[in-house]
C-alpha cells in the first residue's frame, strides 16, 4: 500500500514523502517491509565507508506486510528514483540455521 494511503495509515503521524530516521520509520510502520528512497546517512561518520539503514534517514513511499508484496512498488519507484531499497522494520533473524548445498 502507498505510504500516503490514509485508509490504512495513521493520519496523525503519516506524512507523504516525509524524511524520517530509521527509528521513526520503525515506529510508524511496525513489522512491515518499507520501500524507501533518498537514503542518506544521519551524519558524517568519520572513517566509515558503508552505512547501514539504521544510521540513515529516508523517505518511505510504500509499506507492506510481505517482502513480495512490496516488489511492484520497488519496480515502480525505480522509474522515478535512482536509489530504492526495501527493508523490514520488525525484529531481525537471531540465528542462522545451517544449510547444505549438495
Amino acid at each position: 500500500m502507498l505510504a500516503n494511503d490514509t485508509r490504512t495509515s495513521p493520519p496523525a503521524t503519516t506524512t507523504s514523502h516525509e524524511r524520517l530516521t530509521w527509528d521513526q520509520i520503525c515506529q510508524r510502520y511496525p513489522d512491515e517491509w518499507v520501500v524507501v528512497v533518498e537514503i542518506q546517512p544521519v551524519d558524517e561518520m568519520d572513517g566509515v565507508d558503508d552505512v547501514a539503514i539504521e544510521f540513515c534517514t529516508a523517505v518511505v513511499i510504500a509499506h507492506h506486510k510481505t517482502r513480495r508484496e512490496a516488489s511492484p512498488d520497488v519496480k515502480a519507484a525505480f522509474q522515478r528514483y535512482d536509489e530504492v531499497g526495501k527493508f523490514w522494520t520488525g525484529e531481525l533473524v537471531r540465528s542462522m540455521p545451517r544449510f547444505l548445498v549438495p
Binding site: D50, V51, A52, I53, S71, E91, M96, P97, V101
Partner: protein, 134 residues
C-alpha cells in the same frame, strides 16, 4: 583500510550491500547478514527480479537442504555487487528465498569474504577491511 559499521547489540552482524542489474545504473541496497559459516553469497529472488534479472539467466540449479525440507534456487552472475566497502564485478551469487520474517535479503558468504582480509571489532560495531585480491 575500509570500515563498515554495524549494531553491536544485535545477535548477528547486519550490514547493507548493493547489487546492480541491467535495468538500473544505481545499485539496489540490500540488508545482509555476514555469515562466515556460509560458502555462497545469497540474495533473495525478488530483489534480483526488481532490477532486471530472471532465472533464465541462471547458470546452475541448486537445491538447498535444511531441517524443514528442500528448496530450489539457482546460481547467477550479477553485474556488480558491493558490500563492506568493496565491489566485485561479474560476481556469482546463490539466488535462494529466505523466510520473510528474517528481515534480510541475503547473506554475505565466503565467496565474497575470501577476497578480503577483515577484522570484526564486535564491541565497537565495526568491521575493518583490507582487500587483498579481486
Amino acid at each position: 583500510m575500509k570500515v563498515t559499521r554495524f549494531t553491536p547489540t544485535r545477535d548477528l552482524i547486519f550490514v547493507d550491500g548493493h547489487v546492480w542489474g541491467p535495468l538500473h545504473r544505481r545499485g539496489r541496497p540490500l540488508r545482509l547478514v555476514v555469515d562466515t559459516g556460509a560458502a555462497e553469497t545469497v540474495i533473495v529472488p525478488d530483489a534480483l527480479d526488481e532490477i532486471g534479472y530472471s532465472p533464465r539467466q541462471g547458470e546452475e540449479i541448486t537445491v538447498m537442504r535444511s531441517a524443514v525440507g528442500r528448496e530450489q534456487g539457482y546460481m547467477i552472475r550479477v553485474d556488480r555487487f558491493n558490500c563492506l566497502g568493496h565491489q566485485s564485478r561479474n560476481f556469482r551469487v546463490h539466488v535462494q528465498d529466505l523466510p520473510d520474517g528474517w528481515g534480510i535479503e541475503g547473506l554475505i558468504g565466503i565467496s565474497f569474504l575470501r577476497q578480503l582480509n577483515y577484522e570484526v571489532r564486535s564491541l565497537e560495531g565495526r568491521i575493518c577491511i583490507e582487500r587483498v585480491r579481486s
